[in-house]
């Protein structure tokens, strides 16, 4: 057992977003960074039809546990790539959960076709805030744009998570995971997006 394993029980991170936002890649990067650090890790994800614009949920469980699935009330951290999905993930939270949520909406078609209304973002995140220990709101679109591409919003979110230091993973391990997993052509812009998020996470 490594030093990290001994001092660390279990941490459950729940990811939620919309198909196409890169949640699964972010999930994978967290797992690989934890492995770099020598932590036992298990992850769960759903492929297939949901990836075409539906809700995409995944999870990373770090520590010695059996089930890679996160039950209701069991998520220590929720990484929501979209504010409506942050609210939908509320049942996964407990009172001490840290929620990191993007403030940039992706409007569902049920709203676009008038079958439903998109709640005010303040109401969505307000409801989350009233139930959990802390909420970090991230304007992912602006930050990712600054870093060079709005498509790198997922790496901004990941950077914020890394910056908070809640996961016992060193910068070196994060960097190594990014280097190994990200395709060559998007390395630079994604690293910048990660760094932007990291700086924000550190400041909070």
């Amino acid at each position: 057992m490594t030093q990290a394993e001994q001092t660390f029980q279990a941490l459950r991170i729940f990811f939620t977003g919309v198909g196409g936002q890169g949640t699964l890649l972010a999930t994978r990067l967290v797992g690989e960074a934890a492995l770099e650090e020598g932590l036992p890790v298990a992850m769960s994800e759903i492929h297939g039809m949901a990836q075409r614009g539906g809700v995409v949920e995944s999870s990373v469980v770090v520590g010695n546990v059996c089930s890679p699935t996160i039950a209701d009330g069991e998520a220590d951290i929720v990484l929501a790539f979209e504010p409506l999905e942050a609210a939908r993930a509320l049942p996964k939270c407990h009172s001490k959960t840290l929620v990191i949520s993007s403030t940039v909406p992706v409007v569902p078609f049920t709203v676009a076709t008038g079958q439903a209304e998109y709640p005010a973002i303040e109401d969505l995140l307000g409801a989350v805030r009233s139930r959990v220990a802390s909420v970090i709101e991230v304007d992912t679109a602006a930050l990712a744009r600054d870093a060079g591409s709005e498509r790198a919003a997922n790496l901004v979110m990941l950077g914020v998570l890394a910056g908070t230091g809640r996961l016992p993973v060193s910068m070196k391990s994060w960097q190594e995971a990014l280097r190994r997993i990200l395709p060559e052509r998007v390395q630079e812009v994604n690293r910048r997006a990660f760094q932007t998020g990291y700086t924000l996470g550190r400041e909070l």
């Binding site: 919309v18 198909g19 196409g20 994978r28 797992g31 690989e32 492995l35 036992p40 890790v41 298990a42 992850m43 769960s44 994800e45 759903i46 492929h47 297939g48 039809m49 949901a50 990836q51 075409r52 614009g53 539906g54 809700v55 546990v65 059996c66 089930s67 890679p68 699935t69 996160i70 039950a71 209701d72 009330g73 069991e74 409506l84 609210a87 939908r88 509320l90 049942p91 409007v107 569902p108 078609f109 049920t110 709203v111 676009a112 076709t113 008038g114 079958q115 439903a116 209304e117 998109y118 709640p119 969505l124 409801a127 139930r131 709005e150 498509r151």
Partner: protein, 618 residues
């Protein structure tokens, strides 16, 4: 020498196969099983292994190809999803009788939920029906080890062995040790034995008796018998029981992983025995007998059907799906299992918060998807039509109201024929019938259906949505590709030529991005279907999938602009549903999301008011 890696369950299966010296693996893609063969292809190329790999045309063919390799003493595997196993059931049943020589592993991935399937069916029941053993892994780590167990078992008893993971195992990732691959260059030796490999019904009875003997030996193998998971905690724990009766929990698969943690949390871990069933069929007779005599109440938690439960033949003591203790449909998620355990052990109910009441989100076709353009034209060409659909990304045409039925691979064509014959037999005029099927699905199961429809004199329009790939499952190649998985040139199948050879006289290709032309083509096809010498008209709507990195073709991209004519009627959003078109509220002009817009320009011809303009972008 070993190494530590995070592997997806399906990658772990691939590693297990190569570590066990598998020399052939065949598959047809299907969620949640698709990544097994893709991983094998990567590993083969990276390590220069001599293994034959193929994406077969369908699961039945995949099964038969791999089985022949096993006849020659070489380890083989066939990989599919559970509904694919339905397609391969014919060779499965027969091969249980003939048996195998080289280890033969059938990987059939189930999809409780279901997340990406037509049914929640339990492949373990199919194994039971075929009379072959089935192994039920609880995690990616376990499945890697069970591949080896399956090969050994298969070889020792000369019987196909099923490995049945579920979505939560296939698509879970776990860190594990990986080992070097065993590259077995075993000479293929076919020993002729007609009484076995070509057995007539008389010999089949002999084979059936042999099969029963094999099963009986396997059932008695103590290494495969269910095991007590919490032996140590029970010894040191508090033996006092909640209700004075003797109770135990029996589980298998991923549900077991959830149960372990829940039992610790609920204080049951050191007082209630938990048994893991690694091989649900054939279930160890001595386990059945001792469990039934040692315990008064046995809670069985398994996915998805009551396979273990039915074999514990003393129903008064057994609680599970048949007694309503476990819900009879749906995936077993941790919160559901917690409720089952709390109910069974009379613990207080958990206070769980209700999910918030917020708008749902359904999957949709990607921005720029050629299927969306084809569906829009189909609706416009045949406004009162019946639209039989099929299995693939394009099932999502149902969001657009352009898919009325989805049953199983290839059924769109047979359904279209059935609808037509119903009208004809009633001497009624028939409405336009326009079926849609993807290219890969057409090759898989559409060709026989088309031949049948032609010779029965059916009349309808069939649109083959040809995006050059098996898109939904991760862009596996189709038989039209012209290269095998080793990159060697092989004949490429032409959809046009197959359609003509099936007896169809009217076959036209069209570009779905050219809405006007496609519309014209569809109307002519509809007229031909009704004409005196008409029949089935096939339109091949051809455009590569935008997400397919193997075919990163470029096309003239347009910059879409919303002009002052847009009054926010949202026709484009309701009828076309492109994710790049975003409603801004009542009477407000729509907005184009530049990050999502692919520049296909199809929406320009969708808007009835000419409010969308396209300019070629630099």
């Amino acid at each position: 020498m070993s190494d530590r890696k995070i592997l997806l369950g399906n990658e772990a299966i691939a590693h297990g196969l190569l570590e066990s010296g598998c020399t052939m693996a065949t598959s047809y893609p299907g969620t949640p099983a698709s990544e097994v063969l893709s991983t094998l292809v990567q590993l083969k190329n990276a390590c220069g292994l001599s293994i034959h790999l193929e994406w077969s045309i369908n699961e039945k063919v995949a099964y038969e190809v791999a089985l022949a390799n096993s006849y020659m003493g070489r380890r083989s595997a066939v990989v599919m999803k559970q509904v694919g196993l339905n397609v391969a059931t014919d060779p499965l049943m027969s091969s249980a009788y003939t048996g195998v020589r080289g280890g033969f592993v059938v990987v059939s991935a189930d999809d409780p939920g279901p997340h990406s399937s037509q049914t929640e069916q339990d492949s373990r029941f199919t194994a039971m029906m075929a009379k072959i053993p089935v192994l039920d892994p609880a995690s990616p780590r376990e499945i890697r080890e069970l591949v080896r167990v399956a090969f050994d078992l298969s070889e020792q008893h000369e019987i196909p062995v099923m490995l049945r993971p579920t979505t939560r195992v296939c698509h879970a990732r776990q860190d594990m040790e990986v080992f070097p691959f065993a590259d077995r260059k075993l000479f293929p030796l076919f020993e002729k034995n007609p009484a076995r490999w070509a057995a007539t019904p008389k010999f089949r009875l002999v084979l059936h008796r042999q099969l029963n003997e094999k099963l009986s030996r396997i059932e008695q193998d103590s290494t495969l018998a269910p095991r007590l998971v919490n032996d140590a905690p029970l010894r040191t724990g508090n033996p006092s029981r909640s209700r004075g009766d003797k109770t135990c929990v029996v589980s298998s698969g991923v549900a077991l992983s959830h149960i372990k943690e829940l039992m610790i949390e609920l204080g049951l871990w050191d007082r209630v025995p938990l048994f893991q069933v690694m091989m649900p069929f054939p279930l160890s007779r001595s386990f059945i007998e001792t469990t039934l005599s040692n315990y008064d109440r046995i809670l069985v938690i398994e996915e998805t059907y009551p396979v273990i439960e039915l074999q514990l033949r003393l129903q008064a003591k057994v609680f599970g799906r048949l007694t309503g203790t476990v819900p009879s449909a749906g995936e077993l998620l941790p919160e559901g299992i917690e409720d089952i355990l709390r109910g069974f052990f009379l613990l207080p109910e958990s206070d769980r918060s209700a999910p918030p009441d917020i708008p749902g989100r359904r999957p949709t076709l990607c921005a720029g998807c050629p299927h969306r353009a084809a569906f829009f034209a189909i609706k416009k060409a045949f406004p009162k039509g019946i639209y039989p659909g099929d299995i693939g990304c394009y099932t999502l045409g149902l969001n657009l109201g352009a898919v009325d039925t989805v049953l199983c691979m290839g059924a769109s064509i047979s359904h279209a024929a059935g609808f037509y014959h119903a009208f004809k037999a009633s001497r009624e005029d028939f409405p336009p019938i326009c079926a849609t099927i993807g290219d890969s699905t057409f090759f898989h199961s559409g060709v026989t259906a088309l031949m049948n429809a032609v010779v029965q004199g059916a009349r309808f329009v069939l649109v083959i949505l040809d995006n050059g790939t098996t898109a939904m499952t991760g862009h596996q190649p189709t038989p039209a590709r012209g290269r095998n998985l080793d990159g060697e040139a092989v004949p490429s199948l032409s959809i046009e030529e197959i359609v003509k050879a099936c007896g169809v006289r009217s076959v036209v290709e069209a570009d779905p991005y050219d809405t006007e032309r496609l519309l014209q083509t569809l109307r002519e096809a509809g007229d031909h279907a009704r004409s005196a010498d008409g029949g089935i008209s096939v339109v091949i709507s051809r455009r590569p999938c935008l997400m397919d990195r193997n075919r990163a073709g470029s096309w003239p991209k347009f910059e879409i602009r919303v002009n002052e004519k847009c009054r926010g009627c949202d026709f484009c959003i309701k009828q076309f549903e492109c994710p790049a078109l975003q409603a801004q509220g009542e009477k407000e002009p729509v907005r184009i999301d530049r990050n999502l817009c692919s520049g296909c320009g199809v929406c320009v011809s969708v808007c009835p008011h000419g409010a969308l303009e396209a300019a070629l972008s630099g």
